[in-house]
């Protein structure tokens, strides 16, 4: 790709890097060269491996294969301090400052200038902070506490800290996600001036307008693999989207066609201030409705409110025409709603308890007689569902934490299917599970819909959405931005709606 080698060795490069977590290959053969005086964009869907890559550059993860090069020389980042010493600084979406310390103390944490008697020289520290902010062209009082500063200002403090550490490589991981328009412009001004003074910047964003207005080159990743690197001038939004999603979806299990029945779940005008607003959603028996969108669009939050684990401010949720009370998972369960949550380990299962206890946790009352649990009934139910879903477990009395991720997910499905639900909400049903179990889960969902269950599937994986769903609702920043029929839903149309770019194609 690189025809003419740059005269100066790049301050940071990743060569053929690979990283696995257990059996999951998070990154494979990824190369990335960050040049001085250049802003480099990194694009990819959720789960494409961007975060893993950032953590590798930051010294949090070490590559299993391949290497990191600093100024053309191989380097090992065994810990974040090594990366920092090499001049790498990472600005995260949510900065982590010490809220009760002053701005200047946050910048010089652990490196405070000392006066006589080993006392901290506040005057020198404040002067140095002022100088840093002057370089960035912003005004923040170094003496004020970090608490109460906007996210944008907090990011600037992180950048000032990076400058004070002589950082030459600045990684910005979705820095604009929580910023307003003016704040984004200010951040861009800072980024451009840093580039012009010779820094290398890696910029990660889901917003194509930002990528195109700020960046010089774009690298696209997909499924943990490197796809391409091109100068921005040779790309269009369409081309980037195609590179991000271009994938063979025929391999996935397609949903059987079913005749949708009556409306089962109806959500009207559901709103929670600052999280999601005015969400309408209708799911009929036998139908799989996918809720697509980027991470943070508010999809899981809506589903949690529907199930009653979270509150909402206004709107209604009804099942078979009967309104559900707010914030009562027990009432939702009684009405036939089941939620397979996003975070299997924290929300779906009690990891320390046995497979049997987990599988019957939702069935405690029906399995008891005169208030007493019959252990034979508990064991029978657990055994029945473990067999139906082919859970691979040594003993049903083994702690569920000893199972593989895919089998754990089956236990979560078992505990909810055992309740005989009318509405099944699954949130990222196949995240982090192996390919074999994944297609089993898809086949199961398809069968359940065939039996007349109303299924809502939150998924960040486009092939899953397109392969499984009868209808696709796309959320963008807390609102439903598009409703697409099975025929209308394509990788491009979903991606556009998810990034709030509706209609810009064509």
């Amino acid at each position: 790709m690189a025809q003419q080698p740059p005269p100066v060795p790049p301050p940071l490069a990743l060569v053929d890097a690979a990283k696995s977590f257990g059996s999951v290959k998070a990154l494979q053969g990824v190369s990335l060269t960050l040049r001085a005086g250049e802003i480099h964009a990194l694009c990819g869907e959720n789960g494409a491996g961007k975060s893993t890559l950032v953590k590798m550059i930051a010294g949090v993860h070490q590559p299993d294969e391949g290497r990191i090069e600093v100024d053309g020389e191989p380097a090992v980042f065994a810990r974040p301090a090594d990366a920092q010493r090499a001049g790498v600084a990472v600005i995260y979406q949510e900065p982590t400052l010490f809220p009760d310390l002053s701005v200047a103390e946050n910048i010089f944490m652990g490196r405070q200038p000392l006066a006589r008697g080993r006392r901290i020289d506040k005057a020198a520290m404040h002067a140095a902070s002022d100088a840093l902010f002057a370089r960035l062209g912003v005004r923040i009082d170094p003496a004020r506490p970090a608490k109460g500063l906007s996210i944008a200002d907090q990011q600037l403090i992180e950048i000032a800290k990076a400058l004070s550490l002589q950082a030459r490589v600045l990684v910005m991981d979705e820095p604009t996600a929580a910023l307003s328009g003016v704040e984004v412009e200010r951040l861009f001004t800072v980024a451009r001036s840093l580039r012009d003074s010779g820094s290398a910047i890696l910029f990660i964003s889901h917003r194509f307008d930002e990528v195109f207005s700020l960046c010089d080159r774009v690298t696209v990743m997909r499924d943990g693999r490197y796809i391409s690197t091109d100068p921005i001038g040779e790309l269009t939004v369409d081309a980037v989207v195609r590179k991000m999603v271009g994938r063979d979806i025929a391999a996935l299990f397609p949903k059987q066609d079913t005749e949708p029945g009556d409306t089962v779940l109806e959500v009207r005008g559901l709103t929670r201030a600052g999280v999601f607003s005015d969400v309408d959603l209708t799911v009929r028996a036998g139908e799989i409705v996918a809720l697509a969108g980027l991470v943070g669009a508010g999809r899981s939050e809506v589903m949690r409110a529907v199930f009653g684990v979270d509150r909402y401010d206004s709107g209604t949720v009804s099942v078979n025409g009967r309104a559900l009370p707010k914030a009562s998972p027990a009432a939702a369960m009684a009405a036939g709603v089941a939620l397979v949550p996003e975070d299997r380990r924290q929300q779906g299962l009690v990891m320390e308890l046995s497979v049997e206890r987990n599988a019957t946790l939702t069935r405690r009352w029906p399995l008891s007689r005169f208030g007493l649990l019959r252990s034979s009934a508990e064991e029978g139910t657990a055994r029945e569902w473990a067999e139906r879903l082919q859970v691979k477990a040594g003993r049903l009395t083994d702690a569920v934490s000893t199972l593989s991720g895919g089998n754990q997910q089956k236990v979560v499905l078992a505990k909810w299917l055992a309740t005989g639900p009318k509405v099944l909400i699954v949130d990222e049903p196949t995240r982090g599970i192996d390919v074999g179990t994944k297609s089993e889960v898809h086949r199961l969902l398809s069968e359940l819909a065939g039996q007349g269950l109303a299924v809502v599937m939150v998924s960040s994986e486009l092939p899953e959405v397109l392969g499984m769903a009868d209808r696709v609702l796309v959320m963008h920043e807390g609102r439903i931005s598009a409703e697409l029929s099975r025929d209308e839903a394509t990788e491009e149309s979903v991606m556009y709606a998810a990034t709030g770019q509706r209609g810009e194609a064509a």
Binding site: E352, L353, T360, S375, T402
Partner: protein, 351 residues
Amino acid sequence: MAPESTSPLRRLLATREASVVGALIVTVIAASFWIEGFATGRNTGFLILDIAAIALIALPMTLIVITGEIDLSVASTLGLTSAVMGQLWVMGLPLETIVPLCVVLGAVLGAVNGLLVTVAGLPSLAVTIGTMALYRGLAYVVLGDRAVADFPFSWTGGATARIGETQIPWVVLLVIGLAVVFGVVLHATPVGRALYAIGNNDEAARFSGISVRMTKLWLFVASGAVSAVAGVFWTLQYSSARADNAAGLELSVVAAVLLGGVSIFGGSGALAGVIGGVLLLGTIRNALQLADVSSDTLSIVTGLLLVISVVAPNVVTRLKERRRATAPPPDRAAADSSPSSSPTVPAPSKR
């Protein structure tokens, strides 16, 4: 896989409850040998009366600690109940009315704790340290430094009466009855299953439709009511209503619960173990008292047992982990923490 450790009997013997019972047996045998007057019917009767209040309060405490909370106000609830009982008696109410009122009062005091923990969302450790001081203070407001001691003998004698010709006080039946109730609730009802789920991961419990707040609220109410029952018993047993009754008893209760194998972090433990813990603690204290050991030393022993019962499981897990780390095949994760108080042995799995 450690091959032999899977036989049901071995698994039963490896539980914390079994080691508590083992320690109890060793203590009883040793005390019978070396301490004069220990192995007598008379002393057994005294021992039981001595630990009755601890045993009663330890029952709801077990459930509370299993959900990951704690109630340190129990001894103060006992003291306030005792003071109110004395004051109402002085005012001329009959005991038939006073006793139920006291139990209701205890439930209300427990509900205050419960509401502060569940509705206000405060940590129970902080809440009940506060109410521990508050309730004890109120007890002094009610009764001051006075002691009310003129309860009728038909009641006070009844509190310490023995069953038939034996030396065993009837209060044993109350303790056993309540222990069965709490044991069944914990180990054989939907509520009990919920308690373990909450203690291990209250978020997953909520996502399973368990009402975490209501459950905890009722546990604190039960704790208050049972502490009040213990307060009534205490007052009649010593024929003395005082504001400082049972001061510091909460530490003995917590020590007994932890000694019995309930995890201070919540999520594991069994009621049988706690009964063992109460008996072990009571036996050790009783034996030392007979051996003329000073009360300061007794306090040191209680404190040491408390620390050991918290530290020991951690040390054991560390050692196990280290052994597993050095052994070639890393097999099953730590022995499951599921309760197994009932002697029913899990049926051997087919596969």
